[in-house]
Symmetry: C2
Subunit: 334 residues, 2 copies
């Protein structure tokens, strides 16, 4: 018998379709390539002039926009938002609009033409997390901006257009809807219980252990109770923190290992699937709060039934999260 | 300069990316097949035994589950919800669940093995709309059910698994999230203005005419101001009605023509794209309300950036709705 489960944070229901439970091998997915295509790569060292000038780079003494870097952050060549100008909020009858002010940046994670972040060293991934923290600090000074979304599209089917491993950030003058829903749900819970719902959730998951993939002193990796997608995976810091930017340096070192290990498990069990990774943190201009808890969401792209879900907001997940947690857990240390 | 626009009903923002505005020919899409594959079809006359026994059929005197029908409604062979049993709502700490009670039915629109609903006669499409109305009336008697979602996945990339043209319905014990958001937004507007937001929207769109694709006495076809997807298209009845089931028979005749014409325009301009079609109506057990207005949403599947949008609820639409309205309008009478 299928089950309807409610996400305790956003209050939305999903169908967990236990009858047609699926094993990893049942999904028809596009595997991401394991060998480079050999096409020209604007992200490789020596091709710095093919991207807009860098806004941040970690390098050993070399000049800006020259080789010799270990990480580079550059504006996206075809940004979805522009950084110049005023918001010019205006209405027209029922409608409201503003200028598309914001930032769209690419974080080139490594000079190496690696096809997956899992091929990179822990230190390199730590630098990426640190660079995101630095960009958050910098973008926060722009009072027009309310949110910075860090995300990674891995594989063409997940929206990636270049194979050289990279992440992106979009800084927005509004808080995105899904984050807003999490904030509101978490706030309502806090008013009721005076506890962070994410902290309560971690405690409960550690007790039942049926959806825990792995844990360290610093982080827990779990499959959410009302997972919308098969093998949807969350990484949460054990210690309460609303903002990613407030994570301690040593905690980000631990996160680099946990993140790589989690993605390696996903790659092993699902055989290199396309995926999206998103960091959810509290809004840019808000101070630390007791009710929200930053975290990472990883969504492997395994199913196709997209438009129906887009139109209804109703998700059907063919893999119970308890099963996907078991598969990922059993993949061992990766 | 890109623009941020707010959906007046659900209050969510989208980026309309005017800089990289796209023409219909720019989308890399999977075209839906124009010729039958020749594979065995369980929906064709003579194969009635290959589906579960019908729950509704329009036929000329022949017996149930025999050839001689013009439309058949059958339970889905692999339903996402089961119809037997009690909801058994229960909690487990933070979590809430209930049994997956509901109905999942397939509406086989025609005995003809047509690959697109647009090949069918107006009369056949009218019968489909009427059958949906009948199923709504019947399912409403089951007090466990709160919502019936009628939808159509056209083409493999939009989730269709069989090519013989058909629609589906899922009856649910909860109201799906996106409909809930529309209901709440519309209710808030009504409290403020004592007018239906959809009626106001129709009035404003008819005045500006920049997003109107076509209109009849009964229906308006338009591209929504804050369209989440390129060529997202809505069909709304001109006259206020909260429930699809309250549509008059002659109005459904008009809708059959409007729907076919709209889909033919989309097929002509976008060259047979996959798409999803969803009917949004007020909840099953609620009586007629002044604040909600039933409508149809059509979402061609043209872009790939799915996971990021799923994770953030933030949509980037590369085609301004004014442009897509122009393309569809200029396609002429179809």
């Amino acid at each position: 018998m299928p089950e309807l489960r409610k996400d305790p944070i956003t209050d939305s229901w999903v169908i967990i379709s236990t009858d047609r439970a699926r094993r990893p091998s049942d999904f028809v997915r596009e595997r991401t390539p394991r060998e480079p295509s050999g096409r020209f790569c604007p992200f490789c060292p020596g091709n710095e002039s093919k991207t807009p000038p860098e806004v941040l780079a970690y390098r050993n003494g070399s000049g800006p926009n020259q080789p010799g870097w270990s990480l580079r952050v550059v504006p996206e060549k075809f940004p979805v938002l522009g950084i110049e100008g005023d918001l010019d909020r205006e209405g027209e009858g029922l409608f409201d609009r503003m200028k598309g002010i914001g930032a769209h940046e690419v974080l080139i994670e490594s000079p190496e033409h690696a096809l997956s972040i899992t091929e990179l060293s822990e230190k390199t991934i730590h630098h990426l997390l640190w660079a995101f923290r630095e960009r958050l600090e910098d973008l926060r000074r722009d009072r027009r901006l309310r949110y910075v979304l860090l995300f990674k599209n891995h594989g063409e089917a997940a929206g990636a257009t270049l194979e050289h491993t990279h992440s992106q950030l979009i800084a927005l003058p509004v808080v995105p809807k899904r984050v807003q829903e999490e904030l509101e749900g978490a706030k309502a819970y806090y008013r009721f219980k005076e506890r962070c719902i994410f902290c309560d959730l971690i405690r409960q998951e550690l007790k039942s252990r049926t959806r825990v993939v792995m844990e360290t002193n610093g982080f827990i990796v779990l499959e959410p109770y009302a997972a919308r997608f098969p093998f949807e995976t969350w990484i949460l810091p054990m210690q309460h923190k609303s903002h990613f930017k407030d994570a301690e340096p040593h905690s980000l070192e631990n996160l680099a290992w946990v993140l790589r290990s989690t993605l390696r498990k996903i790659e092993k069990v699902l055989e290199w699937p396309p995926y999206n990774l998103i960091v959810h943190t509290a809004p840019l201009q808000e101070s630390a709060t007791d009710y929200y808890h930053w975290h990472i969401e990883i969504i492997p792209k395994l199913t196709r039934v997209a438009g129906f879900e887009w139109g209804s907001g109703f998700y059907i997940n063919p893999t119970p999260p308890e099963e996907s947690a078991q598969f990922l857990h059993d993949a061992g240390t990766c």
